[in-house]
Symmetry: C2
């Protein structure tokens, strides 16, 4: 099996004067004790077991959700060849899966494989299966639906990418409470 | 030569209660008469001549800059095989090049070529040449410096990518007025 370490680099953007409190509150509520976590000026980096990284990203985003406040998250999921300490098994943020709110999202799966179209198709089919597919658009696939369905789509694509693609990057942008109609 | 159309899909995130006014003001000040432009719920899409698209993106971002207001832009630069109407030559937003402010940025160039490391190296060398390279980090290269040097780096990488890479995506995130020290 692969020796690669899975990870996610993400940033929350909160369109409110209260953005610092909301972000710090959300980071504090997220249990990152079983992964490697570091926050810098541009983004937060989580690395470790794929399911535990995704659990922490979902925890952080859902904790930041604030009624009526427009927020987006941009996230890059990828792997690297570095080592990473392994923590205890289990998903400490699994309670986040009970939190529901509507969202809009876009995603793009990049691969250096011979057939990138196959990977794009897999990602698209995942979104269709979870009921969040809206359309293919320039440079991305557009999603809309419940946040839980978007995270389940993300999980399935990341599991596929880690297993089937040698090198990849998966880009996801999620938006909630946007004032822009479409 | 290639029949591909260059484009940029980008979103501004303004961490302020005034985010709607700032974004709409910036979009209104940007001359997009020579490219194809459409704004949706998640992002704005510009397609057309590479130099004119980059000119419009730079115009939009620099017009949105507001003293003391934290703002980020995430942008994906790529090409597609579709047609695009061609406008008059020239760069209508070129005055944006006289606007200076410090920024932090990160970027990643994805290619489906045989040697993605070569493309990453080219992007890194560009950043070094323009004096904005900070470090290589997980899944990205970190930049810091004057906004003009970041946009000149972006231009050079996009010109290389359009010329040398069959399929690519270039991801850029720029942040200004961040309250986070590093």
């Amino acid at each position: 099996m692969s020796e690669k370490t899975f990870g996610c680099r993400f940033a929350l953007s909160i369109m409110s004067d209260r953005f610092i409190d909301i972000i710090l509150g959300s980071l504090a509520k997220t249990d990152t004790s079983r992964i490697e976590a570091s926050t810098g000026r541009l983004s937060t980096l989580y690395r470790g077991d794929r399911e535990q990284v995704l659990d922490a990203v979902e925890g952080c985003f859902t904790h930041a959700f604030t009624e009526g406040v427009h927020m987006t998250m941009e996230a890059t999921f990828s792997t690297d060849d570095g080592a990473c300490r392994t923590g205890e098994a289990g998903l400490p943020n699994i309670a986040a899966r009970d939190i529901h709110f509507p969202c809009n999202a876009k995603m793009a799966l990049y691969t250096m494989k011979a057939d990138p179209a196959e990977a794009t198709r897999f990602a698209r089919d995942c979104a269709v299966k979870h009921g969040v597919f809206v359309k293919d658009d320039y440079y991305c696939t557009v999603l809309s639906g419940d946040i839980q369905d978007v995270f389940r789509t993300t999980e399935e694509i990341c599991a596929y990418a880690e297993r089937a693609l040698d090198r990849f990057a998966f880009e996801l942008t999620v938006s909630v409470n946007s004032p822009t109609a479409e």
